[in-house]
């Protein structure tokens, strides 16, 4: 069996892996790093315009081959498995959490506190913004104070967003541009945004994606990337609790072994817990890092409610469709009032679709369709969404599903999100609160709520390897070091105790950068 040795072995090649490897290689240039990824390298930047074109015209996947056949989780939000991970597709939104997310227990008597201070996390949020290249504007709320400015000015608001902001602000709720990992000027070797409107595949590279980082690291010989290689098991030292190796299958179906001083599981909220559970042995019969049964527990995400509101504003769709507004007004809630925390977002939306039959059943063709549509769709439409904070029950979990196995016979993960009792108890009040805000907004510009819908999944999921100080209730410490294995770290989304009430990528990248510093301390500088 081929064996590859390195100082550090990173399992997974998504955004956390990219950020971790980049920082560690800067702090400790002499440290050897192997990165093992189950999916393919889709390093085809030169053809991005072509893929974009096919996506627009035919709805084809702009990242063809970004999955591994038979390797899918039930209950997961995405099947993307490739070098770059879900951050190949992401919209680039880089909202921050707030201090309240880290102080749920001490401020509100809810769930748990995170095991680190906001000031500490905020410092790494700044670093994450620098590395990702975030354009943004500061929040007007004192609680959102920043220790560093954004690296780039915000993306200019479109005509539609300017009008939506004016409308939103009339409700007394201040809106601002959402921070984006998109360049407003050339940055870090990548181009500036030219508003192609297809952030799912950014043809210019203005929107950050981890393939850029991996290509740089490979070119600089700072990492060795083994793609199409699925790690199936972590193996312990015979006499110790440290991890000795990772066993994998490569694309040819051959077994491969990776040996390292330190192992970093950077496999996202699904595959990190999954790998630890798959790695059960006689000494850890429930899986690695799972002495207290916490692996796969407290899977989290945030819930959301969305409305479409018709208003007397000249809103045109698709001016910059994946760009929008945010209000952080509801990130904070008084401890004397019922707990409800959420973000509030506005995007431009399309008006209703043209039709070919009117109310009388008459078929419409040609200009009749245009005339009919204009008579029915004279007003602009806003899409308004609130991501609200919910907390997971312990049995909000990822388990191995014996009924679904991959071609190697490994059981696939099954994720079932469950909210804790307090989150369930406040559900109606939360929903009512958010609907009242929609109604409040609709009172301006002759607004009419066209429809309201609730998400039927938890978005921006995280958890499964919760960080904490007590091994009885957590998997790792605030650096991601597992309580049970001194050389095994979990980084990124799985370590989050909660998913907050807005996009989590910036936060888990920040935590990852902090983990990289800790791991670097284990290696000498030379």
């Amino acid at each position: 069996m081929p064996t590859y040795e390195s100082d550090v072995c990173i399992i997974g090649a998504g955004i956390t892996s990219a950020m971790f490897a980049q920082k560690l290689s800067e702090l400790r240039p002499g440290v050897s790093i192997n990165i093992v990824e189950a999916g393919k390298s889709l390093f085809d930047f030169d053809n991005r315009f072509k893929y974009r074109e096919r996506m627009i015209r035919y709805g084809e996947n702009p990242w063809p081959g970004d999955f591994v056949e038979g390797q899918a989780a039930e209950g997961g939000v995405s099947w993307t498995m490739a070098v770059g991970g879900q951050a190949l597709h992401w919209g680039g939104t880089c909202n921050r959490f707030s201090e309240e997310d880290l102080r749920l227990k001490s401020m509100y008597g809810l769930y748990v506190d995170w095991p680190l201070e906001w000031a500490e996390l905020e410092k790494f949020c700044c670093e994450a913004e620098r590395r990702l290249g975030v354009s943004g504007e500061p929040s007007p709320f004192p609680g959102d104070q920043r220790s560093e400015p954004y690296p780039m000015k915000p993306i200019p608001l479109t005509w539609s967003l300017e009008h939506l902001k004016e409308w939103g602000n009339k409700s007394g709720i201040p809106f601002q541009a959402t921070p984006q990992a998109k360049n407003t000027v050339p940055y870090d070797g990548r181009n500036a945004c030219i508003r192609c409107g297809t952030c799912d595949i950014c043809p210019t590279g203005a929107r950050y994606s981890p393939d850029f980082t991996f290509k740089q690291l490979i070119a600089q010989k700072k990492i060795t990337l083994h793609d199409q290689t699925l790690v199936r098991k972590l193996v312990l030292d015979d006499a110790k609790t440290s991890v000795a190796s990772a066993r994998a299958m490569n694309a040819q179906g051959g077994e491969v072994e990776y040996r390292a001083k330190t192992f970093i599981v950077a496999s996202g909220y699904t595959w990190s817990s999954h790998l630890l559970l798959l790695s059960a042995n006689s000494r850890f019969p429930n899986g690695l890092a799972n002495r207290t049964g916490q692996v796969g527990k407290y899977m989290n995400g945030h819930a959301f409610i969305q409305s479409f509101i018709e208003i007397d504003q000249d809103i045109l769709p698709n001016m910059n469709p994946q760009y929008g507004l945010i209000s952080r007004q509801f990130f904070r809630c008084s401890s004397k009032e019922p707990y409800v925390r959420h973000d509030l977002r506005i995007w431009e939306a399309s008006r209703e679709a043209p039709r070919m039959k009117d109310e009388s059943g008459q078929i419409l063709l040609g200009d009749e369709i245009v005339k009919d549509w204009r008579s029915r769709s004279a007003r602009g439409v806003a899409r308004v969404r609130a991501y609200y904070d919910v907390h997971p029950a312990e049995d909000s979990e990822l388990v191995l599903d014996p009924a679904r196995k991959n071609k190697w016979g490994d059981p696939m993960p099954k994720i079932t999100h469950r909210r804790d009792a307090a989150s369930q108890a406040r559900y109606q009040a939360t929903k009512q609160h958010i609907q009242q805000i929609f109604a409040q907004m609709a009172r301006n510009d002759n607004g009419k709520i066209l429809r309201v819908n609730e998400g039927n999944y938890l978005d921006h999921p995280a958890g499964g390897c919760r960080m904490g100080t007590d091994p009885a209730t957590s998997v790792c410490d605030n650096f991601g070091r597992t309580h049970d294995h001194e050389n095994l770290f979990v980084v990124g989304a799985p370590t989050l105790p909660t998913a907050g009430c807005t996009n989590g990528t910036l936060t888990f990248v920040a935590l990852t950068l902090r983990s990289a510093e800790e791991v670097a301390r284990n290696f000498r500088k030379s």
Binding site: N61, F67, L157, I194, C196, L316, N318, A353, D367
Partner: protein
């Protein structure tokens, strides 16, 4: 296809743009790939592939419309096919509905409806994004 386009697409486009839309549709059909991978999506992912080429029966359907193609012939064909809405994408039920779907869901179709040169498929730069797009007509 040009003859059909002149019946089902907006005459206000002018004959040149109608012909161009018809020609674009023919190119779209030609370049269609059966069984191509569609993104598995986000939220509730699933494996998806593009279906059969929707154009399989277009020649037969065009022939059935006769020549010159009349509005009545198109209405009858749509009624026979039980189509009462414009599909989101060409779906192969009838060439007339699919041509409308192709056009009204295109950037040109959107611009015509909104009477604004949004040009959603173009990379438009950031500088002018705060300005209202100029009118189509």
């Amino acid at each position: 296809m040009r003859e059909l386009a002149r019946v089902v697409l907006p005459g206000s486009l002018g004959s040149e743009r109608i012909d161009r839309a018809a020609a674009d549709f023919v190119v779209w059909i030609r370049d269609y790939k059966v069984g191509a991978e569609i993104s598995s999506g986000y939220g509730h992912p699933r494996t998806q592939l593009t279906g059969p080429n929707p154009a399989a029966r277009y020649n037969e359907q065009l022939a059935a419309l006769g020549s010159p193609i009349t509005r009545q012939a198109v209405e009858n064909a749509l009624a026979d096919a039980k189509i009462d809405r414009i599909p989101q994408r060409p779906a192969g039920r009838h060439v007339a509905a699919d041509l409308m779907a192709f056009f009204f869901n295109s950037a040109d179709g959107e611009d015509l409806l909104y009477n604004a040169k949004i040009r959603r498929d173009d990379c438009r730069g950031l500088a002018d994004s705060g300005k209202r797009p100029s009118k189509v007509s």
